[in-house]
Structure formats: structure tokens, C-alpha cells
């Protein structure tokens, strides 16, 4: 009887000692490797891109805060949603409309905002993505609170989150990048062309917005393959980036001169019109 008890007890004690020693050795090894340089080849394999995207309403807000005024002249026609025939053109213009919607909301243009929400709904239906933009009775909530800026802002924030969930869970990060590309191009286009009550701040603000461009190009290239429309867009964006280099030696935004702003206006208009007139 004595042997029957001591046998498992001995093994338990031995196992416990073994695991205690093992944990200590791993801990020691971690401490030792802590100071070692980690080489790039140690990166975890993933098809993801290595940066975080800003929100479309946030990039519109940066421009609004710099004194950007509202002008309907520079936004895309909400009635054009039906002319976008390819999936890529649809996704790009879904982003464009999101940029326009953010611009309208931040300028308290409720009537225009609702037109863009309607166009986004119809375009997302065409793209079989309506559940992203109209989950949780979003449309009902929007329509019942037409004068409520909070509801409109929440629409953009929640759809951004839904889009992100959809893209990651279905492994379609290209959707995230293409729609963001449309929103970014539209916002920079508006920011460069619309009147500004503080024109002296335009150069610095646009330069800050340009800081996203390199990641945008990388993101499109890493998530979209064999797509002639996106290849054309990335070529244009690369050319744009070269012409509008926006960083100083410390990687901080420079203040664009008026000549540089003129070049930017011309270049971004070409890219933007290629998207909206597709």
C-alpha cells in the first residue's frame, strides 16, 4: 500500500521540479535574447499590410480644421452612382462618396449628406455589400435623425468598422484599400481646390495628408494583383508622390509653396477625375 502511494507522489514531485526548471530556462533565454537585434526575416508571415489606416472623416476633419470652406463645385455628383460598371470603379467611388459625405457632414450640409448616404446605399447594393453599410437598421436611424450631426458622424464611423470587419473576416483587404484610396483622393482633391479661410495653412495641411500616400500605394500593391484599373491608379499615385515629395529630413511634413500647391491641384485633379469619370 505504501508503495502504491509513494509511486505517483514521487513522479508528481519530479514532474513539478522538471517544469519549474524548464520555465526558468525559457525565461532566462528570453532575457538573453531581449537585447539582440531582431532581423527583418524574423517577421511573422502575413498577407496583411504593416500600417494603420486613418478614418475618412478624420482626414476630412484635418482639412476642415485648417479653415476649408464648403463648395458643392468640388464634390462628385451623387447621381453618378449608376454609371460605375466595374467592381473596382464601384469600390473606388464608394470611397469617393464617403469622402464627400464626410465633407458635407463636417460643414453641416444635412440635405447633401443624405443624398450621399442614399448613393452609398445604392452603390453598395450593386456591389453586394449592403450589409456593411446598412446593418443594425442604420438607414432607419439616419432618416429619423436627419438634423442630428452625431447620427451622421456615427454612420461613417460604424460603416468604417463594419467594412474593416468584413474585409478582414473574408480575407479581402483589397476592398479596404480600394475604398480608402477613393476617399483619400477625393479629400485631397477637395482640400486643394475648395476655398480656405486660412490660405496660409493649406500647404502644411495638404503636406500632412500626403504622408498617407506611400502607405496607400504599398497597401494597394500588396492587396490587389492583376487589376489593370488599380495598376493604372498606383502608377499615377507613384508619379504624384515623386512630384510632391512632402517630407523633410526628419520625416516631418514640409509646408508646400504656392507653386507646389498648383502642381498638386493639377495632378490630383487628373487622378480624381479618372476615378469619378470611369
Amino acid at each position: 500500500m505504501k508503495n502504491h502511494i509513494s509511486y505517483p507522489l514521487t513522479i508528481i514531485v519530479l514532474v513539478f521540479i522538471l517544469f519549474s526548471c524548464s520555465d526558468q530556462s525559457v525565461e532566462k533565454k528570453e532575457q538573453e535574447t531581449k537585447t539582440e537585434a531582431i532581423e527583418p526575416q524574423d517577421e511573422v508571415g502575413t498577407e496583411d499590410f504593416y500600417f494603420f489606416l486613418p478614418s475618412p472623416i478624420q482626414i476630412a476633419h484635418i482639412l476642415k480644421r485648417s479653415g476649408l470652406l464648403f463648395s458643392a463645385e468640388w464634390i462628385n455628383d451623387p447621381a453618378k452612382y449608376d454609371q460605375y460598371q466595374t467592381r473596382t470603379a464601384g469600390l473606388l467611388n464608394l470611397g469617393v462618396y464617403t469622402g464627400d459625405l464626410a465633407y458635407c457632414i463636417l460643414n453641416d450640409r444635412t440635405e447633401e449628406s443624405l443624398k450621399y448616404i442614399n448613393s452609398i446605399k445604392k452603390l453598395s447594393d450593386k456591389l453586394d455589400m449592403s450589409e456593411i453599410y446598412y446593418s443594425d437598421n442604420t438607414m432607419t436611424r439616419i432618416e429619423s435623425a436627419v438634423n442630428n450631426k452625431d447620427s451622421l458622424v456615427n454612420f461613417i464611423i460604424s460603416t468604417q468598422e463594419n467594412l474593416s470587419d468584413y474585409a478582414y473576416s473574408s480575407n479581402q483587404l483589397s476592398i479596404l484599400m480600394i475604398t480608402f484610396a477613393g476617399a483619400w483622393v477625393e479629400t485631397v482633391y477637395i482640400g486643394a481646390h475648395a476655398d480656405n479661410e486660412s490660405p496660409e495653412r493649406v500647404g502644411e495641411t495638404l503636406s500632412e495628408e500626403m504622408g498617407i500616400l506611400k502607405n496607400l500605394i504599398d497597401g494597394l500593391e500588396s492587396t490587389v494583383q492583376d487589376n489593370p484599373e488599380i495598376s493604372t491608379l498606383t502608377t499615377q499615385l507613384k508619379d504624384f508622390e515623386q512630384k510632391m515629395y512632402s517630407r523633410d529630413g526628419e520625416n516631418k511634413p514640409i509646408n508646400f509653396s504656392s507653386d507646389q500647391i498648383e502642381i498638386l491641384k493639377k495632378e490630383i485633379a487628373i487622378i480624381r477625375n479618372n476615378i469619378t469619370n470611369n
Binding site: Y7, F52, K149
Partner: protein
């Protein structure tokens, strides 16, 4: 003989329970990890998120993520290692290739705060989040770490 078999089964049971307890691995539940991040993000608004899924290896691994921060905006970063025991987060003002970069945040200093950590960045225009996966004897054990970024809504009443 019967007692010996019982004793052996008992021993194997103890052995197995000890081996699981020593590393405290949990099966990845990305949905739950994101929900936890979202709760911790409030009152900031959702901007973007990343889920890093990986397998522990004999060597230490690392991923680096760039975040552009705009002047005058306020941000919150939520770091979740619930499903990735041992994973640490370091945040710098420069890329890993920049030898003079400054460490802004180290999750090891918040060890007592649990697996769900918060950082409010103040450095502009870029910060870099390094996700460091430790070496492990339990190779092929899967883990997932989640990062969520939010910004403060300053433009609504």
C-alpha cells in the same frame, strides 16, 4: 496490478494538467479579442485594427506597424494579448531600422495591468508598434494579438 494502473492514469492526468497550466495558452478567439478592445476604446471612436495571428517558434519573432498621427488630434491605442501569452508591445518614434529611435512605451512596465493595455500617443507624425512574440518550447502553438486604434471626436457636440 489494478492499483498500479490507477496510479499511472492519475500520474498521466497530473502531468497533462501541469503541462497546460505552465503556459496558460487559450484558443484564439479573434471576435472576442476585438470586442474587448472595442470596450476599452470607448469613449474614443474606431479608426482601425490589426489581428496578428502566429505560431510560437524556437526563435523570437517580431512585426512592426506604422501609425500616422495628425497634429492636434487625440488617439487611444488598445493592445490585447489575452490570446498570446508572453507577447510584448513596444512603441517607438522611429522604424526598427532607425538606430537612434526612442522607446515611447513598453508593455512590460504595465505587467500588472493585465492582458488589455491602453496607450495614449503624443508623438507626431509617426509611431511604430512592435509586436514581439517570444521564443517558446511549445512550437506550433498558435496565438493572436490584437491592436485597435481610436481617435477622439472633437467635431461633434
Amino acid at each position: 496490478m489494478y492499483n498500479k494502473i490507477i496510479a499511472l492514469i492519475f500520474t498521466i492526468g497530473i502531468l497533462l494538467s501541469l503541462s497546460f497550466k505552465s503556459e496558460d495558452y487559450k484558443t484564439c478567439n479573434v471576435e472576442e479579442a476585438l470586442k474587448a478592445c472595442k470596450r476599452k476604446l470607448i469613449p474614443f471612436s474606431f479608426q482601425d485594427r490589426k489581428t496578428i495571428t502566429f505560431k510560437y517558434e524556437a526563435d523570437k519573432q517580431m512585426n512592426e506597424y506604422e501609425v500616422q498621427l495628425f497634429n492636434g488630434e487625440r488617439y487611444r491605442i488598445v493592445l490585447n494579448s489575452t490570446y498570446s501569452p508572453g507577447v510584448e508591445f513596444e512603441i517607438y518614434d522611429g522604424k526598427k531600422t532607425n538606430k537612434t529611435r526612442k522607446l515611447l512605451y513598453d508593455s512590460r512596465k504595465d505587467k500588472d495591468e493585465g492582458d488589455l493595455l491602453i496607450y495614449h500617443p503624443e508623438t507626431i507624425p509617426y509611431i511604430y508598434i512592435d509586436v514581439i512574440i517570444p521564443s517558446s518550447k511549445n512550437q506550433n502553438q498558435e496565438g493572436c494579438a490584437t491592436i485597435m486604434i481610436g481617435y477622439e471626436l472633437t467635431f461633434v457636440d
